[in-house]
């Protein structure tokens, strides 16, 4: 139950982040599409984790406070999501004993 609450909260935060950034990335809308693709390919465990909530919350707060660094926070989120890609985790799980 707790993970479902976290998942819902993380989805809300992610949507808020994308909506905030969309107005500031109108010259490069593909950047947000790329972020959403990364999000879609991430591990469900990570997407419902406290770690992701903290990262999202930090990026959203900073993006709202520093509009001139929008791409910095989008890039940070993309990097984190890439590190937790579902495919990568599955491969690692097979390799590890």
């Amino acid at each position: 139950k707790h993970s479902h609450v976290l998942q819902a909260e993380n989805e809300r935060l992610f949507t808020e982040f994308v909506e905030h950034c969309s107005a500031l990335t109108q010259d490069c809308p593909e950047v947000l599409t790329f972020l959403q693709t990364r999000h879609a390919k991430s591990s469900p465990d990570f997407l419902s984790s406290v770690e992701f909530r903290n990262t999202l919350g930090r990026c959203l707060t900073r993006a709202q406070a520093n509009r001139s660094k929008t791409f910095v926070y989008i890039n940070e989120l993309c990097t984190v999501l890439k590190q937790h890609a579902a495919k990568k985790r599955q491969i690692l799980a097979k390799v590890e004993p």
């Binding site: 490069c28 593909e30 950047v31 790329f34 660094k69 791409f71 910095v72 989008i74 890039n75």
Partner: protein
């Protein structure tokens, strides 16, 4: 294809400019390999 408009970077913040270039490079890379 990544818009050429995005290549003409006029951001004032150097860190933001670098992050933008990194993102566009990743998108191009994914587009090329995909």
């Amino acid at each position: 294809e990544v818009s050429r408009v995005c290549e003409d970077d006029d951001d004032d913040d150097p860190e933001n400019r670098i992050a933008k270039k990194m993102l566009l490079a990743q998108i191009k890379s994914n587009y090329s390999s995909g």
